[in-house]
């Protein structure tokens, strides 16, 4: 289990500060304004589904790309090899990234949902958080194994497709089998749409996150111990 001590709180505070410094928040203010304008522009009947898509796409992009950017940056500045010799645990590093990045997604989701006139905010937030966790963890795992931005973009394309396409098809009801409602990305989408997810699907999603968490921690530890830096 995660034992929360002062170091973890410090880490989280600094992660938020780094993200502000590197312009993540500014970017998201601009994006949110743009998304809001889009939502105002489209006809009412489309609003809900468009909002769901935007909300879902956001943690997907955020977790994968921002995580890649963060890790590549740390690698290029050799901060990663320094982490290997601090008392920080890989688990703390991973959780701090998951929580700090999902915080942005949750704020954006709340704003967009309000604009689109959603009422079921709580399931929406849970769905957003789960989606954010999945994509951030995938982002971490991929980023620890690559050494250039190009490699990273290539490696994340399949993850975007696997994570994104079924969920989009799902909200438009293109497929409708039971299996469809067990798929973790779709479970998150269901919750973002304010639907009750299948219990089995939810369980599967949580299990997936637990698995990704294990893999991510191991990958991070391995990355710290490898000395190799990267060039950006």
């Amino acid at each position: 289990m995660l034992t929360i001590d002062k170091r973890f709180i410090n880490l989280l505070r600094w992660d938020l500060r780094f993200q502000a410094r590197y312009g993540f928040y500014l970017l998201y203010v601009l994006l949110t304004v743009f998304y809001t304008l889009v939502l105002f522009a489209i006809p009412g009947s489309w609003k809900e589904k468009t909002a769901a898509m935007l909300i879902f796409s956001d943690p997907a992009a955020m977790g994968l790309f921002f995580m890649g950017a963060i890790v590549l940056l740390e690698k290029s500045q050799k901060v990663t090899s320094y982490f290997a010799i601090t008392p920080m645990k890989a688990r703390e590093y991973v959780w701090s990234k998951v929580l700090s990045l999902s915080a942005i997604s949750l704020v954006v989701a709340t704003i967009l949902a309000t604009v689109a006139g959603y009422t079921a905010i709580f399931p929406l937030l849970v769905g957003t958080f789960l989606a954010s966790a999945i994509f951030t963890l995938c982002g971490i795992i991929v980023a620890t194994k690559i050494s250039s931005l190009n490699q990273f973009i290539l490696a994340t394309v399949p993850i975007e497709i696997i994570g994104f396409v079924p969920a989009i098809l799902h909200i438009f009801g293109v497929t409708g089998s039971i299996a469809d409602r067990l798929y973790p990305a779709n479970v998150c989408m269901d919750m973002i749409m304010g639907d009750r997810p299948f219990a089995a699907g939810l369980l599967l999603t949580v299990a997936l996150i637990a698995l990704l968490l294990q893999v991510a921690c191991r990958s991070v530890l391995k990355m710290w111990q490898e000395q190799g830096g990267v060039k950006l």
Binding site: R7, R21, Q77, K78, V79, S81, T86, P87, Q227
Partner: protein, 281 residues
């Protein structure tokens, strides 16, 4: 503080570090000397628990390096041979961030910055620092949590004479504060000046281990070299302790024909060559 016994390690199938044994006592400055590629950084990384696939034993504090937990690092400070800093953050922010990862005893960041002459650059981004400034910052980063054990990888390389002096004084000051320090260097002069004991290492193997003074004294006595004119300039040398028995020298002195005369002690560099058959640089 550190006990290494029959340590064996390699990055590949080819043997590299084989049967290395040594001990570092609490409170001493212990130097690893060797040419590039000798394995100095590798041994440091093993002691830091970063290369767990070794055989034999390497105990730091009372912990076997490959089995360490994360608290192992509470009392260790490391200055890697390259900068390990967030370039977009200021010097002060970097120090604050890294010190926040440790539990206890944070030293004053302002005092540390002052000690290495960076007090006026504290709020500049590290990206705008010169190489020497980064080296100094990297060094005090290893001190923020006031660790008992310091690993310094070539702490004076790339520094101008003034900053190199400053760095050496700070290392000696840390020793006075009771720290155990393990450093690597190519620089014999620094090693002679700083280290209580040095280990000569070449190709992953230990060739000698003693205080610089003993190493210098045990091998080669001080020599006297003199020159005179006789069909052009001639020169000869003899051991300092045998001067009285050197006929040529006595004649030259009696006839007042010496052009020059000087005595020289062997440097650690000469000793290193003599023992390992290799030069340092």
């Amino acid at each position: 503080m550190i006990q290494v016994n029959n340590l064996t390690f390699s990055y590949s199938k080819k043997p590299f570090i084989e049967g290395l044994s040594f001990e570092v006592k609490a409170g001493e400055i212990f130097g690893f000397l060797g040419p590039s590629g000798a394995g100095k950084s590798t041994v440091q990384k093993i002691l830091l628990g970063m290369l767990p696939n070794y055989e034999g034993s390497a105990v730091v504090g009372s912990v076997e390096c490959k089995k360490h937990g994360s608290n192992f690092y509470q009392n260790i400070g490391v200055d890697f041979e390259y900068s390990t800093m967030y370039e977009k953050l200021s010097a002060r922010e970097n120090l604050e961030f890294f010190s926040s990862l440790y539990r206890l005893r944070h030293r004053s960041i302002d005092e540390l910055l002052m000690a290495v002459g960076l007090e006026n650059d504290a709020d500049k981004r590290v990206a705008d620092f010169s190489k020497g400034m980064k080296s100094r910052l990297n060094f005090i980063k290893a001190l923020v949590h006031d660790p008992k054990l310091l690993f310094l990888d070539e702490p004076t390389s790339g520094l101008d004479p003034t900053n190199s002096r400053l760095m050496k004084d700070m290392i000696l000051e840390e020793k006075r504060r009771g720290k155990t320090i393990l450093l690597t260097t190519h620089n014999m002069q620094d090693a002679t000046e700083l280290c209580d004991r040095v280990a000569f290492i070449v190709g992953g193997k230990l060739f000698a281990l003693d205080s610089p003074h003993n190493l210098i004294m045990s091998k080669g006595a001080a020599k006297v070299t003199y020159t005179w004119i006789e069909n052009g300039e001639q020169s000869a040398s003899c051991d300092l302790t045998e001067m009285a028995g050197d006929k040529k020298l006595r004649n030259l002195i009696a006839e007042n024909r010496l052009q020059s005369i000087h005595s020289s002690e062997p440097t650690l560099n000469d000793i290193f060559m003599e023992i390992t058959g290799k030069t340092l640089v």
